[in-house]
């Protein structure tokens, strides 16, 4: 390492330029270097993911249920546990420009079970210039992450959306400056705790295609208030956090991506904003916040709670619309928008919503679930045919 690595003289962060955007575009289609947190879906990995989500679904949270009582014949992974094998943050280049997760579209080809090996390849697929009230000009990077199993067979494909948002304009515009951590009265907490107790998991009672109708409502779920514990659990499952020597080596190679603590004169990584308010405020958020991936996982839980042990989640599409802050609570609801059979696959399509404690929509999406059917025509969900 040659140059001195020390706090920069000024706190002005880089802005977007034609050159830096063109530089980012050069990577479209080029295989990216990734840092997978896990390579093997051990029982521990799958059970921890269920814990991190606050899941009680026995298919994913119990060691013997899936093995003894379902056709999967194993401890099954929550579909979004693939994030532990690639976190889908595809946001290369544009050093010094903040990155915010904006959503993802995922399709699953196979279930993941305890013992599976998963490998992911990722490419950047697009770099589009956008504009908005948060920071003015920004860039949307889209990507494609392909997960395969130990045999090289496709497991899932994720298409993430990451917004690149310059920090200085975001601070100046102050779109979210008025927001603070919510304070809960005892009655509000009691309502949330009751919602946890009332949460329904369909589990081993099959939800047949013939019994599902357009307009059916999914049993709602609550997540929150978001605590530091929730952050620790979740981030520890998806992030290959750099520590000590690894962090310092990375920071010295990429000085433009470093957050400097002014009071301590020490470098840090930007994921500290998931816990530290002062880091979040640096890029225009009012306080510490979620990763974005959490809301995608909660949407998945809303659907997997509803669909039952025999079903398979085939597609999940989630868009994030606003920050989700520490102490926010998410109320997730969904509705059936249609059912049918296509190429011998019985399916239901769902519309999903995620609102915070102020009633604002912080995420929305759609899902496609493959369902078991009473009719003998459709295949059993998840069955792979040549």
């Amino acid at each position: 390492m040659s140059a001195t690595f020390a706090p920069p003289q000024t706190r002005d962060y880089p802005g977007l330029t034609e050159a830096s955007i063109a530089h980012a575009r050069e990577l479209i289609g080029v295989p990216l270097r990734r840092r997978p947190h896990y390579t093997v879906a051990t029982r521990d990995v799958l059970l921890r993911w269920a814990k991190a989500l606050g899941s009680r679904n026995p298919l994913y949270a119990d060691l013997s249920h899936g093995t003894l009582h379902t056709p999967w014949a194993a401890l099954v992974a929550h579909p979004t546990s693939i994030f532990g094998f690639d976190d889908t943050f595809v946001a290369p280049r544009l050093a010094g420009i903040h990155a915010l997760y904006a959503g993802v579209s995922i399709e699953w080809q196979r279930q993941v079970r305890a013992g599976d090996t998963l490998h992911a390849d990722a490419v950047l697929t697009g770099v589009e210039e956008r504009d908005g009230r948060f920071c003015g000009p920004m860039v949307l990077q889209t990507g494609e992450v392909r997960y395969v199993d130990g045999r090289g067979q496709p497991v899932a494909v994720a298409r993430p959306r990451i917004l690149r948002t310059p920090r200085d304009p975001a601070r100046r515009l102050g779109k979210y400056d008025g927001l603070t951590r919510h304070h809960y009265e005892p009655e509000e907490m009691a309502r949330i705790l009751k919602a946890y107790e009332d949460e329904e998991v369909r589990g081993d009672v099959p939800r047949y295609l013939e019994d599902v109708h357009e307009g059916d409502r999914l049993s709602p779920i609550v997540k929150g208030p978001l605590t530091t514990e929730d952050m620790n659990f979740f981030v520890s499952e998806v992030s290959e956090t750099r520590a000590f020597r690894e962090f310092i080596a990375h920071a010295r190679r990429h000085p433009a991506d470093v957050y400097w603590h002014e009071d301590k004169g020490m470098p840090d990584s930007w994921d500290a904003s998931l816990l530290l308010d002062k880091v979040a405020r640096e890029f225009g958020f009012p306080c510490a916040h979620d990763t974005g991936l959490q809301r995608v996982s909660w949407m998945e839980m809303l659907v997997t709670n509803w669909m039952g042990d025999l079903a398979m989640l085939r597609k999940l599409d989630v868009r994030l619309h606003a920050p989700f802050l520490h102490a926010d609570t998410a109320w997730l609801t969904g509705t059936v928008t249609g059912t049918g059979v296509t190429d011998r696959r019985a399916h239901a399509t769902l519309a999903l919503d995620c609102a915070n404690q102020r009633g604002e929509t912080v995420a929305s999406g759609t899902a496609v679930v493959e369902l078991p059917a009473r009719s003998f025509e459709p295949l059993q969900p998840g069955l792979v045919v040549a």
């Binding site: 020390a6 706090p7 606050g54 907490m189 620790n232 520590a243 020597r245 690894e246 603590h261 816990l275």
Partner: protein, 388 residues
């Protein structure tokens, strides 16, 4: 409302359990290559023996082995699992861990623990305290003893700790560029002995070991290491059981355990001084403080770096005399103080220190290391017949 004080009844209850064995589920069902790699990484250990799953096959172990302090991920070797004295905080004060056999990827490790000691004490930090020790035995799937760990804690009433805060006036100045350069330089010069044997015959009393450096400490290094760096702060075994529902259910089931966040009115983790600055200060610590077993691991790392693939860390012990807080940098150093032969084992004793940037030794300790010897009958690690 639970009593948050050290009471005679509370102490008597703890004393009545001395000699009782507890077998809790391990925090991990399987020792996986990913877990080994992440455990090493999150402690700053980059030894290929631990972070490269393919490397160990070419060593005497013939397999991917875990850092010796990995067993903390099976059952955290502090003494908080003993419980008792609800609402009375626990500070981890030391470790003494002996290692007998390697842990390999694919092994299954089962822990058993029991209270070892309960004793009233008083100190400048927080007045009246209770000292508690816990012993943990770790066995593998062949019922072979892998390690024995001792963890020591002080139990302290939180409000008392804050009132008597002896650290309240510590306000560190920011690092200068020269101070940072010194840290980067130590990182650049960290050595891992690796495949070249360090023969017992070539080591002399007085030899200096290290330094290695760890820091400046970041909150994410304490917080997002939960499952890996050691210290199962969140998770099974007496801490919280998971996110969202699991967490709130546990707080309801354990009155007096959670600590309400004043700004939000929401219950949150009672040990969040490990990642929340305002909470740390509330209990008398001048900032987010580390999970102390990380420093036990740093001592172990200096030893495994130095001992090489053919050496074996037999024992490491240390006392946590100072908090290690956000922004602190720690230099781990050692000095060989003794050499001897015990049966087939060629042993050295290393005196260990962990000096921070203020010059304080936060974690004095020591270790026994078994080194390879030119004596053909010497013990080598991984040798199934090798015991004293």
């Amino acid at each position: 409302m639970a009593e948050r004080a050290i009471t005679e009844e509370g102490i008597a209850e703890l004393e009545s359990r001395l000699g009782s064995y507890y077998r809790s589920g391990p925090y991990r069902l399987d020792v996986s290559a990913d877990d080994i790699r992440n455990n090493a990484r999150m402690n700053g250990d980059w030894n290929p023996l631990f972070v490269d799953a393919a490397y160990g096959a070419g060593t005497r172990y013939g397999a991917h082995v875990a850092p010796p302090t990995y067993v903390d991920l099976i059952k955290h070797y502090t003494a908080t699992a003993i419980g008792g004295l609800p609402g009375v905080h626990a500070f981890h004060t030391g470790n003494d861990v002996e290692f007998f056999r390697p842990v390999r990827a694919g092994d299954v490790i089962g822990p058993t623990f029991r209270p070892w000691r309960v004793e009233r004490k008083s100190g400048r930090f927080a007045g009246e305290m209770v000292a508690m020790d816990m012993e943990i035995l770790y066995r593998n799937q062949f019922d072979e003893l892998v390690a024995i760990a001792h963890g020591n804690v002080f139990r302290v009433v939180r409000e008392d700790a804050r009132r008597r805060a002896k650290y309240a006036d510590v306000t560190p100045a920011p690092y200068t560029a020269a101070e940072l350069e010194r840290i980067w330089d130590t990182y650049d010069h960290e050595e891992v002995r690796g495949p070249e044997p360090r023969y017992w015959e070539d080591v002399a009393v007085g030899d200096v070991v290290g330094p290695i450096v760890r820091g400046p400490l970041r909150v994410v290094e304490v917080s997002f290491r939960n499952w890996y760096g050691g210290g199962q702060l969140t998770g099974a075994g007496g801490m919280t059981f998971g996110g969202h529902y699991h967490q709130f259910r546990e707080y309801l089931d354990r009155p007096g355990y959670a600590e309400t966040d004043e700004a939000t009115g929401v219950d949150d983790h009672p040990h969040r001084g490990h990642w929340e600055d305002s909470f740390a200060r509330k209990i008398g610590v001048p900032g987010v403080y580390d999970i102390a077993v990380q420093r036990t691991a740093w001592h172990a790392t200096l030893m495994t770096n130095w001992a090489g693939d053919d050496g074996w860390l037999r024992r490491v012990w240390c006392e946590f005399r100072r908090f290690n807080v956000e922004g602190d940098t720690t230099w781990i150093t050692g000095k060989v103080v003794r050499k001897w032969i015990e049966g087939r084992e060629h042993m050295v004793e290393i005196e260990l220190a962990a000096h921070n940037q203020r010059g304080e030794d936060s974690t004095p300790g020591g270790a026994f290391v078994v080194l390879p010897s030119r004596n053909p009958g010497a013990y080598v690690p991984g040798d199934p017949e090798a015991r004293r």
